[in-house]
Symmetry: C2
Subunit: 103 residues, 2 copies
DNA sequence: CGGTTCAATCAGCCAATGCTGACATCAGTT
DNA sequence: AACTGATGTCAGCATTGGCTGATTGAACCG
């Protein structure tokens, strides 16, 4: 079975609780790491590491602004994953209860 | 910030590559562990462990049938997560580029 | 009954990864 | 330049969690 970034990397990146909180915070507005540190109580180093993971996965994008760096969400990434799960749910819901015989 | 099963447990459960393959396989038809062992190449013990995780998370449900046990997907779980991600994406897409000043 | 097969549980191993402290870098300020 | 504050990077530690072998129980069949 073929694996893809959609079934492997994106879900794994979004599965971490702290990263999920960061994503939710960024859904409302652009934020700097300093804001996220204040909002979550996590250390700056920790936030920076998670932002790097989110960046490499294409979930967020960064825009340096002088001394600060603003991060914003890339809605396409979340929308793509949402469509994937919705498609699975629909396929499972529509499929009649077919059973493959055992051996 | 309040956490929920939707932002913590469900994504974590679906993030594992082997569990993702199981979920995709179950989206098409009901299957027994023996089928999943054959399809994935994983050991029976491993499949059984993952099915237990999926069961406890409400992603699948089991129906014992004599010597076999058929598993099927619960589409509501996937649909709920899909709606969650879609809502985040929509909120991020609609929100004007608001920026909170840095302290 | 045994014997066989499917499935679940358990303890142990180990790789993956989240967290941290220490340090480096850069921008703005005085 | 020197200082401060915001960010990023790196190595090490510690925990999580996936994988396995061994064992057990249950359901079928001779």
């Amino acid at each position: 079975m073929l694996t893809s970034v959609l079934t492997d990397e994106l879900p794994r990146v979004l599965a971490d609780p702290l990263r999920a909180r960061i994503v939710e915070a960024l859904a409302g507005e652009e934020l700097c790491p300093c804001h996220l540190v204040a909002m979550t109580g996590a250390r700056q180093t920790n936030i920076s590491n998670h932002l790097r993971v989110l960046l490499q996965a294409g979930v967020v994008e960064a825009e340096p602004a002088g001394r600060y760096t603003y991060y914003r969400l890339r809605p396409e990434a979340l929308a793509e994953l949402a469509r994937h799960y919705a498609a699975l749910a629909e396929r499972a819901g529509l499929t009649p209860r077919r059973r493959r015989p055992c051996s």
